[in-house]
Symmetry: C2
Subunit: 744 residues, 2 copies
Amino acid sequence: MAKIADQYLQVHPWKIIEDGFHPDRSEVSESLFSLANEYQGTRGYFEEGYSGDHLTGTYLNGVYEERFTEGTAYKGISTRLAFMVNTVDWLYTRIELDGEILDLARCKYSEFRRELDFRSGELRRETVWETASGKKIRIVFLRLLSMETNELACQQIRFLPLNFSGRPKLTLGLDFSTPHRMYGQNFWSCPRKDTGMLLGVSTSVNQRVFAGMRVSANAKPEPIEGEKFTGYVFDLELQQGRESIVERPVILYTERDPNQPLEEAWNKGVSAMQCVTKDYSAILEENRRYWAGFWSKSDITIEGDPETQQGIRFCIFQMQQTYRGALKGANIGAKGLTGEAYNGNAFWDTETYCLPFYLFSNPAAAKSLIDFRYKTMPQAMARAKDLDCEGACFPVATSDGTESCTLWQHASLQLQPTTAVAYAVWHYAHVTGDTEFLRSEGAELLVQICRFLATRGQWSAGGKFGYYAVMGPDEFQMMVNHNAYTNYMAKRTFEYTLEVLKSIPPASVGVTTSELAEWKRMAEEMLIPYDLSTGLFEQHLGFFDLPHIDVDAIPVEEFPLYSHWAYDRIYRNDMIKQPDVLMFMFLYNQSFSAAEKRANYEYYEPRCIHESSLSPSVHSILAAELGRSQEAFDFFRFATRIDLDNYNRNACEGIHTTSIAAAWMNIVYGFGGMRSDGDLLSFKPSIPGHWKSYSFQVTYRQSVIKVEVNQAKAFLHVVEGDPVRVNFFDKACELDGTGISIKI
Amino acid sequence: MAKIADQYLQVHPWKIIEDGFHPDRSEVSESLFSLANEYQGTRGYFEEGYSGDHLTGTYLNGVYEERFTEGTAYKGISTRLAFMVNTVDWLYTRIELDGEILDLARCKYSEFRRELDFRSGELRRETVWETASGKKIRIVFLRLLSMETNELACQQIRFLPLNFSGRPKLTLGLDFSTPHRMYGQNFWSCPRKDTGMLLGVSTSVNQRVFAGMRVSANAKPEPIEGEKFTGYVFDLELQQGRESIVERPVILYTERDPNQPLEEAWNKGVSAMQCVTKDYSAILEENRRYWAGFWSKSDITIEGDPETQQGIRFCIFQMQQTYRGALKGANIGAKGLTGEAYNGNAFWDTETYCLPFYLFSNPAAAKSLIDFRYKTMPQAMARAKDLDCEGACFPVATSDGTESCTLWQHASLQLQPTTAVAYAVWHYAHVTGDTEFLRSEGAELLVQICRFLATRGQWSAGGKFGYYAVMGPDEFQMMVNHNAYTNYMAKRTFEYTLEVLKSIPPASVGVTTSELAEWKRMAEEMLIPYDLSTGLFEQHLGFFDLPHIDVDAIPVEEFPLYSHWAYDRIYRNDMIKQPDVLMFMFLYNQSFSAAEKRANYEYYEPRCIHESSLSPSVHSILAAELGRSQEAFDFFRFATRIDLDNYNRNACEGIHTTSIAAAWMNIVYGFGGMRSDGDLLSFKPSIPGHWKSYSFQVTYRQSVIKVEVNQAKAFLHVVEGDPVRVNFFDKACELDGTGISIKI
């Protein structure tokens, strides 16, 4: 894996710290220093304005716009693209002193420091600005998104004149006029405004977003207004050596309902404003309590490796910021709420990479992710119909359940989003034992998925069942037949559905006997390409005879290949982008022998270029299982610090939210050796050689299990709740507060 | 083949005749009644204006515009689309009588008749118009494009008042303002104008087109002008029972040079106008002579089947109208100059379907088609580079040599345009014996093509050479590996190139010894999927195990499948769109045994839905060879009358120019049993059971061979030039004026 770290942040167990401004990485920092509380997210941009590289972005979960692509539209090719739209710049700030406007791209400054604290979710930035006239002032910018009140955000600015007293001019505003970068236009109009409050309505979808602020400053506010702007100007009265504080709580209110009357949207926003009573310090205090509670159950500690300690906490912190299951109908965009790449859409990453983190820390939040699919089943059924199939076909990319991927070669050929939903149903029900869920949603989802799989699949001339013209998880093989992943996942989906329908009457979910018989036959006759002599699964029929390419011989400047290689060339060899066979061997890990896992890992890993950020983590887990501990650690380090070290050089677009979800799995499934696909939850921990110890906790059937591992032993115990049966190094045992330890 | 004729024209051996207007087929008629002289082409639209369905189109060969597609552009995906642009409406006519404007969609009329005569290229249309006030006038519209003077067109209108004398108002104009239908905009501005003359300049490419007219009418012209329009209004003085004639020769002058100074473009146009001295009758007379000369060498007669007689002459007439090798740099668009579908671009159809017609009637015209490829080799080399390859990759669709197909799945995966150029080089040199051509162009083309084939091809893990991720001629199988057609054509291309480079020193065309060795090895190790036990070629690796579909069971309303089936569904079974294996068995016919041809025909024909208009003709030829004479005739009838009977219901978009080229092959290669891929030209005629006789002539090595076949015998003789050696029913013989006949 030819990935090279670009580390510029300070290492700290609970913070990320930028000591001295790095303008060449300004947008990377904006991404890394993003704040979110699931409901809203704000990039770490400079609120005072910055004429260097910047992407001003505040996003509201579920607030998207749409556009339609032109060009050849054959049947079943989606032409509607939904994208997360930037909303209001609620931090809009301008500071003028002696006719000079603060802009770190143009002004003289020193002592720049930016910190984000995972224990409070506070972003703090300070610098000393020296004007052309020689005046020096220390300014501290603080911001927070409330973890208690979704709609609430707060900004504080502290001014400390170092060598003068004077009257800088401060402007604070709410600004809906920022253009969307990729599409080069602004998508908002503001039909209603009042001082310090305005209502934005988006162009196509008619989203309503209310923004309001209440400024407290020791100066008289002069209201100012623009077409999509409201704000105040203050003449601050600053005394040398005395700190003055300005702060403003802000409400961003939306119900994500395009049909809501404007009057109602306005009134609800105003009411929400009126409920705001807390000041910055009170919100900060609340946030500290929230995060302390969270970390007490979800922290991962690593002793002896400060970088991965920081990395894994950053990942966990970002996951929790992005999604925590409190907001109805939320999903997880590929970049969370930290940037506009991938249009803010959610992918199969949700079920495949993110779900386990919630499943073992907050099962209700995990269920809520599946609810998103259940609620968007009508769109998935319409999509299946567009594809001349029955049942439900879940989208490759989506904001609202409709297919938002306009590339047919992905949207029409990738079935993994659909099988991933079935997998999530199984995984959730299997881990939680929530049979009620199966009855209320799960069975219905499974049935519609099976219908889709039954109609999209075909019988070969030789009488085997499987999928033609697909693209498996490895997106470097397109329009292949009998992709092992697709076929295997479909087989397991049929089998699990048939099993579920043993305890839930098929007729109650509208399934006929002939359907059951058909699905059974399809599962039985599913072609899984496999070479008995080697134990290798063939990624698809014909893969083994593809032209071989030595991936290590590809010059590093040719990456990413999508930008440097002719499009079709990518698809014409045995190079793979991300795990495909290894992916289903991870998902159904205990269904394969150690020898099979070893053979397939040894065959496929050297062919993988990990061009997907989702790739290294799965390899890390399997490497750990196979005792390839250095590889396991290297992949883990990459997965954990992919953004902090900007490995893929695209963190500027937003962080790899769904990929870093897998970093958590690297500890729990990888080094922790946890497996959740057997009858009992099982553990088989190992530890990288240079770590002193590590620990993590998982919530399992109402109990919290803590796993502590050092170089000598692994120790498991229940820290909360009843005893539970687990498998520990292949031995079933009853785990309680006393715990069990094993020498490793 | 579920194709149903929609016949509405009268049958006539030398004409197409519409007796009584068919407004529901108005655009079909516009296509069928198109005129062209290779340099320019005009659809048979109503010059007087028509508010029903119409597509006003006058096209100049090689005059195109361009536009750029938006959306994801990976490397090697063409985003520039060149399209034949409609130019000036040189026939613009409006006729007003008693305040009523003639418009067959709104006026009362009778005795409508439209005829196009293949012996003169004259389009004649007449009708009797009865105004609301009861006045009746017979109007005859005549038009011609000169076959002697490319730039010259002529319109004549005859007025015969039947029951009144009066002063209708006549407007005649030149109009550059017609919008392009598909792109909904007009692409011309007119920077220079004078009475009766104007210069059009196109928006993007800067094409210059001069249009000028000289009107002769027995009335005083009043000049009128518009932004993109010039013309005259006449108050005609008509006497009851006396015919008045108005006519105008028109010059459309372009050098297709976007860099030509406007002044020069204008002056050259004006000069061309000044050279026009002939009137309508003189041009008609010239055209009659031209076409008489043409038919004396190129006619095909069929006795006993008036419909196919008319059909085959229509095809030959249209071929000659579209292209005859007189215009430097011309190629043949898929619809010729009769419509805007396929953007007027040229495809591999040129080399594969059109070339033989010219090769055996006008070899210089055939060579000129290859010249087009030779001259656009720089574009083909740039394209190869875009695809990360070397050498020359010829475009799937083009107006100027650059790739104009913006669908990567065609443009990046279809190698047949490139191998077709190599085939054309071979075919031309083989039939004409023109070794000088090989030295001056052919070898260079072959070498650059081989370089492309060598770099686009790959070695399988098992050590065989071939092509991955291709789409063969059968466009219903996408991204397949080792397509038999592609591999076979590449193998033959390598082999032929190596043979040519035995007599032309490789170094003289820059070829190294190691290249020669590499190409030799690639040819030798080329994987041609073939089943020894059945003699079947497998269309691509894996084809035989694809899900089977009974093509006859597809409901007829689901055609065309591109419009009714989900896009990916088309590609997931053993249904084929057009010949693939059978295609190369046609092109290199004598390289395969009769048993192989039979086996493959019997396997592939039932799987073919002939969704391409190019499909039936190739099947007809092979069916004739295999003695399946009813099938051969059915396919031939379809190919010959595809547009006259509007089989595909899309003749409104323009006629299938390149497909009907193959109708000629159906007679010559099919029933005539001619083969041009052996050492000697060979013949093995057969005759459909219900024909009395048929005959055709081919020009071969400066001699004209006439083939006459009736139910009793086939008779071959040389009608012009020296004796030639040919193969007649597998027996070599010297053919002279006396000829040889054989009982059949």
